[in-house]
């Protein structure tokens, strides 16, 4: 089974520039998550999709962050304009596998490491 694919792996941008990250979840997983992991901290949920609808975006800074999941499959997360404090790893995860799977097969990608200078 292919894992959660994310790209790019690394990105360096200047503050006030824009950036976009892409995620392709495990085939058949209905739920997709974007997390932000700042160095030395645990992942923080930014947004959760169920198919192509938003379930929870309460911690998404909507003045600068946006995310979409068109057609209920892959997803993009955008930051515009970026700030220095946005430097972090952005993790995508998906779930929704067979109920016998631990935690519905909740699986993370390797993340995109963003550095804002």
């Amino acid at each position: 089974e292919a894992g959660v694919a994310q790209s790019p792996r690394y990105k360096i941008i200047e503050k006030r520039q824009s950036v976009a990250f892409w995620c392709n979840p495990i085939s058949g997983h209905a739920t997709l998550y974007w997390y932000q992991q700042i160095l030395g901290q645990g992942p923080k949920l930014l947004i959760q999709f169920q198919n192509n609808g938003v379930v929870d975006d309460s911690q998404l800074p909507k003045d600068r962050f946006s995310a979409e999941r068109l057609k209920g499959v892959d997803s993009t997360l955008k930051i515009q304009p970026a700030k220095l404090e946005d430097s972090a790893v952005y993790l995508c995860a998906s779930s929704g596998g067979p109920t016998r799977s631990p935690n519905y097969g909740y699986t993370f990608g390797s993340g995109t490491r963003l550095t804002v200078v």
Binding site: V4, T31, G40, Q41, G42, P43, K44, L45, Q48, D56, L91, A93, S95, P102, N103, Y104, Y106, T107, F108, G109, S110, G111, R113
Partner: protein, 112 residues
């Protein structure tokens, strides 16, 4: 108060030692408990999960939950250099909701 508190370490122990990782949570609504392992430059991966108080063993790993004190532990026996990683304590309140709350993680290094 954070929902999940975990000592960030770092923790360094010699190979073969028993490792004890701990965390506490504040909300009694959390009903299932997991440990994720995260290697450098990788995403977290599920290591163990449990729903009930008590011990759950899987090879060299034992997860322990005490719901009365809201305390979660992970023990690693016969630690190996390949166990060097960050260990994240994770809790959830509704299995069907699939919303997880992460601790800050403890960075562990096993010294050969």
């Amino acid at each position: 108060q954070k929902e999940v508190e975990q000592d960030p370490g770092p923790l360094s122990v010699p190979e073969g030692a028993i490792v004890s990782l701990n965390c506490t949570y504040s909300n009694s609504a959390f009903q299932y408990f997991m440990w994720y392992r995260q290697y450098s430059r990788k995403g977290p991966e599920l290591l163990m999960y449990t729903y009930s108080s008590g011990n759950k063993e899987d090879g060299r790993f034992t997860a322990q939950v005490d719901k009365s004190s809201k305390y979660i532990s992970l023990f690693i026996r016969d630690s190996q250099p390949s166990d060097s990683a960050t260990y994240l304590c994770v809790v959830g309140s509704n299995f069907g909701n699939e919303k997880l709350t992460f601790g800050t993680g403890t960075r562990l290094t096993i010294i050969p």
